[in-house]
């Protein structure tokens, strides 16, 4: 076998390490600031407002919003980590090195998406630990909790990677997270059960993919869900498959990378 055709694991490791090093270099921005904003959510929604809200599905309101808050950070951070990681070298031009290196597209993806997903999973766990300081938590299905965490981090890192390749300006880089993802997350049941919505809105909400992520994730904590877990898992996998298909197309055509 031609050894030179073997996978370039060293390159994957080199990229992954640089991505992780960036997280620790900007520890304030990438770790501490989400923790502070999560704590603020707890103070405002959990304590100030939550004390006036009854239990939802038998769960104290403060505890009820934990999975949603984790998802909120997981989604936005996965996207911003991955999109920035690939956009920045494109912007300064240092991407030439990546493109001229003996690495396959799959290896590039594994390294960048792996780096971004690792960071947001770490962040999710930090938020979980922070939340535990404020509210009593229980996790009924730890395996599925981790599975949803990893699956979501990977899917949205992949989505972020696509945005990073697509974006030509910093403005475009911010556009999708700001105009689409944040509203979808807020309206996806982070802070409420969709059963609390009036009739027509409940139906509209079902078109929001984030609903399925949050619902499935909350089920792994408390065993209660807005939609069935199987549907949640299915929708997550469908979104993952769509992202993979888009990435495959990008790499096949060299879209905004090699043209």
């Amino acid at each position: 076998m031609n050894l030179r055709a073997a996978p370039n694991f060293r390159a994957v490791w080199a990229i992954y390490r640089v991505e992780m090093a960036r997280a620790f270099r900007t520890v304030l921005q990438s770790i501490i600031s989400p923790v502070i904003s999560t704590s603020l959510y707890f103070v405002v929604f959990g304590s100030a407002i939550g004390s006036r809200i009854n239990e939802i599905d038998g769960i104290a309101y403060g505890a009820f919003i934990v999975p949603g808050l984790m998802m909120l950070s997981l989604l936005t951070q996965s996207i911003s980590n991955a999109s920035f990681a690939i956009y920045f070298p494109k912007f300064v031009g240092s991407i030439y090195e990546l493109l001229s290196a003996p690495v396959s597209y799959l290896e590039i993806i594994i390294a960048y998406v792996g780096g971004a997903a690792t960071k947001s999973i770490m962040l999710g766990l930090i938020i979980l630990a922070t939340a535990a300081l404020f509210v009593p938590l229980r996790i009924e299905h730890p395996f599925w909790m981790i599975a949803f965490l990893v699956l979501t981090a990977v899917t949205f890192s992949l989505f972020g990677f696509i945005i990073g390749i697509w974006a030509k300006t910093f403005e475009q880089l911010q556009l999708v997270p700001l105009l689409i993802v944040t509203p979808l997350t807020f309206l996806g049941g982070s802070f409420y059960s969709i059963h609390m919505l009036p009739g027509i809105w409940k139906t509209v909400t079902l078109f929001n993919p984030v609903v399925y992520l949050i619902s499935g994730f909350r089920w792994s904590f408390y065993g209660k869900a807005d939609v069935s877990v199987g549907v949640s898992l299915g929708m997550t996998l469908v979104f993952l498959a769509i992202c993979i298909a888009i990435v495959a197309w990008i790499f096949k055509t060299g879209y905004r990378l090699r043209n």
Binding site: V92, L98, S100, A101
Partner: protein
């Protein structure tokens, strides 16, 4: 097999319809220093980018040491080091980290001694713990070279290596290029500084408007297309070129003290000797005589002028 890079029928048409390259055929010989000359926008960088895998070609094929850059891209690319024109480095990484990153990216096992040697050779060792953003322009250029050499390439592309570079770095760079050549590394440099090609290259290719106009050994090119000039310092100023000498392309300086004779190096016509005889016959005396070869730059300008 003597050619290390073989480019055949390569074209590039951008999505805008702009034809950056039209049918490029070019062979780079193993171990040579090849200078690709051309004005801005001629297609130099596009051609290099295609060989290095940064830009997809529209058609044609390229092999590097027999490896097709498409089918066998890993083998092809791992042989190549590229120093691009622009200073593009991750500004927040240290010198040491970024050079080791490059080595890893090209799939080479870590080798601290080798990376140290590269950094020392480029006078970067003292700066190994500095972040790239703190380096001067010249140091950044050295860092780009260090990154390209970190994985021990057999072919080195230098895209406009001395654009905006000071004299010291330019000389260091030329010394480095010679050392690499002694180690058997093939070097391809693009430039629009002719003196660079003149000082370094074994062969010169001229590209203009996406086409290779000619490829020639530097010496042959100078011989073929070079013109010589002979300047005579006259003892007494002349008011006009004497009638008996009108068959020669002579130019008289404004003050009448110098006569300049331009002739083709390769021309069979007896030039210099007969001119001097005829000068004597016409009673023109000179006290000094100077000849010089025209530079590659002049050759180059002439070539481009001939282009339609």
């Amino acid at each position: 097999m003597s050619s290390i890079i073989s480019i055949s029928g390569v074209t590039k048409t951008y999505a805008t319809g702009f034809k950056a390259l039209k049918e490029i055929n070019l062979d780079i010989e193993r171990g040579e220093i090849f200078a690709l000359l051309g004005p801005n926008g001629a297609g130099k960088t596009t051609l290099i980018s295609i060989v290095c895998g940064i830009v997809n070609r529209s058609s044609g094929s390229v092999t590097v040491d027999g490896h097709d850059i498409g089918r066998d891209y890993r083998a092809a690319r791992s042989l190549i080091g590229l120093v691009p024109q622009e200073l593009t480095i991750d500004a927040f990484e240290t010198v040491w980290a970024t050079v080791n990153y490059s080595r890893g990216l090209f799939g080479k096992a870590p080798n601290k001694e080798f990376v140290e040697k590269v950094l020392r050779d480029l006078s970067l060792w003292e700066k190994k713990d500095s972040k790239a953003i703190t380096l001067s322009g010249g140091m950044k250029r050295r860092l780009m070279i260090a990154k390209a050499l970190s994985h021990e390439p057999r072919v080195l592309f230098l895209d406009e290596p001395t654009a905006g570079v000071d004299v010291e770095l330019r000389q260091d760079m030329w010394a480095m290029v010679r050392r690499l050549r002694e180690d058997g590394v093939t070097i391809i440099l693009t430039t629009h500084y002719i003196e660079e090609a003149e000082a370094m290259a074994d062969r010169v290719g001229v590209i203009n408007k996406g086409e290779i106009i000619l490829v020639e050994g530097k010496a042959e090119l100078m011989r073929k297309l070079g013109r010589k000039q002979m300047t005579l310092e006259l003892r007494a100023p002349l008011a006009a070129v004497p009638d008996g000498l009108s068959s020669y392309p002579l130019e008289l300086s404004a003050d009448g003290s110098q006569l300049t004779y331009t002739y083709d190096n390769q021309s069979d016509r007896p030039g210099v000797a007969s001119l001097i005889r005829d000068l004597e016959a016409a009673g023109v005396q000179f006290r000094d005589l100077d000849t010089k070869n025209s530079s590659l730059e002049e050759i180059f300008v002439n070539l481009l002028r001939q282009e339609p």
